[in-house]
Amino acid sequence: MIEAKNLGKWFGQNKVVDSISFTVKKGEILGFLGPNAAGKSTTMRMITGYLAPNTGTALIGGHDVCQAPIAARRLLGYLPENAPVYPDMTVRAFLDFIAQIRGFSGKSRAAAVERTLEKCFLTEVKNQITSTLSKGFKQRVCFAQSILHDPEYLVMDEPTDGLDPNQKHEVRSMIREMGREKAILLSTHILEEVDAVCTRAVIIAKGKIMADDTPERLRRRSRLSGAVSLRVQTNDTNPLVAELEKLTGVAKVEVVEKTRDSAVLRAFPAQGAEALPDRLLRHLAQGGHRLESFSVETGRLDEVFRNITMPQKAA
């Protein structure tokens, strides 16, 4: 288990991280979300033992990163922000160096390097100097470094940053795959990533945890969650809106978009209303309206994210 206990950090007079606590269990992939400068990287640096916290501590598999840093780091793989690698080494030499430090020797060392090269699709560039590699490859080399010892715990700071869509897909499926047995903490500001890989998400802003929930439940906090969007052929929306608002179970109807001969409406369910889509469909069919599209909103993470991280600006 990765445990953060009241982690806090000041830089001068600035409180960058304010008493953050959470846990990541094995089998969980926790997405760490937040706007830039929210304290994501600083928190991860404290968890990995790079920065000493001003308050609190972190435990990796029961080992305190401040009291027993070596034992904690042994169980941990870490992919820092911007994926740094030694510029003057070949990919293979770099991974070999990591393997040596991780305590591999002899045949198992060579095997670990080979296995990791293959797993991260680096075999074709293994003899290339890392400074000549593209951003995507560097990212993967650093990723490879973090999983070389098959750690039980992984901390990754923006693991898909700088990758193209195909590479993102590969890395995400790799993370999902590993997430079955490992405890993984990853930071990101890409919300689709949370949906794609995370089993839980923690949203932080200004150094504080604002939400800690599964992506589905977070999405349900959205104003849009449960609303029905429909595109209808009509040139006058007002009667239709009034008509729909009279239906039981409908709290409010908004006009989202209007063109000359069609309009997109959004109906919000009243508290505790059930079977809203069915009721709407029946009503529209009976009234002889022509529907072009019809969908039930599941809620949008980006909207929830905005509401949570800047409540004063949200509409």
Binding site: P84, I101, S105
Partner: protein
């Protein structure tokens, strides 16, 4: 078990650093410049042949000045580079203690300077060909140069830890090393004699690399000189560790 792990870690970092030196052009440029300068000063400025003495004093006496510029050039990348490329974060979140990292990097650079010193072997050979030099003085002279290099290097390691800019690290360490040499250099101490009390002069001299270096060139292997060099190296490396620990987020 723990010692074994220390040793493995230090060896891994040490070898990475050393192959880093020899894998880049810096190593060869350094060695060539060092050898050329040594030869130039010994033969052309000190007139080694005209002195008519089969010893290496005219060779060793230039080392504090040659090393003054070359050793900081070797040391400047030690930590500044790690900081700049961000690999410091990787290195210090691996199961590695700061002591191991500082020591391994220092030793790699020191061994590199040792290799450069070994390549001056034609000098003692020449002296031996010309006459019977005092072998003991030669050995202690080389040891003195090696410790001198180590002391400069430790200072350079400390200034390198301060910044991600190698040039700043270089300039700072040249200034500090120059200071360490000058406080014991005869022209400076002569300036003190005559008005300052003798205990003050002795204290100032005692802090200087110069006086300790000179006594080793004479073939005097004094324990006090070794203690001086080792403690200077220890304090500068300790300082390196403290600086890295406190400036990680910089």
């Amino acid at each position: 078990m723990e010692l074994n792990r220390n040793w493995h870690t230090i060896k891994a970092i040490f070898l990475r650093e050393l192959t880093g030196y020899f894998g880049s052009a810096i190593a060869y440029v350094f060695i060539v410049i060092f050898l050329v300068l040594c030869g130039f000063f010994t033969f052309s400025i000190s007139n080694f042949y005209d002195a008519g003495q089969a010893d290496l004093r005219s060779f060793f006496e230039w080392h504090p000045w040659i090393f003054l510029f070359l050793v900081p050039a070797v040391a400047m990348r030690l930590w500044a580079d790690e900081r700049k490329s961000g690999t410091l974060e990787i290195l210090l979140t691996l199961p590695v203690t700061l002591t191991e990292a500082v020591l391994a990097k220092f030793l790699a650079a020191w061994v590199f300077i040792g290799v450069a010193l070994c390549l001056t072997f034609p000098m003692p050979l020449t002296a031996m060909y010309l006459g019977g030099p005092d072998a003991g003085a030669m050995v202690s002279g080389y040891l003195g140069s090696l410790f001198l290099g180590g002391a400069y290097l430790a200072v350079g390691s400390m200034t390198s830890a301060l910044t991600k800019n190698q040039v700043i690290s270089f300039v700072l360490s040249v200034v500090i090393c120059l200071f360490l040499v000058l406080v014991g250099w005869p022209p400076v101490t002569n300036f003190l004699t005559g008005w300052a009390p003798s205990w003050l002069i002795a204290t100032v001299e005692g802090f200087s690399i110069w006086s300790h270096f000179v006594s080793m060139q004479r073939g005097v292997l004094d324990l006090r000189d070794l203690v001086y060099y080792l403690s200077l190296i220890f304090f500068a490396l300790y300082g390196t560790g403290v600086i890295i620990e406190t400036r990680k987020s910089a």
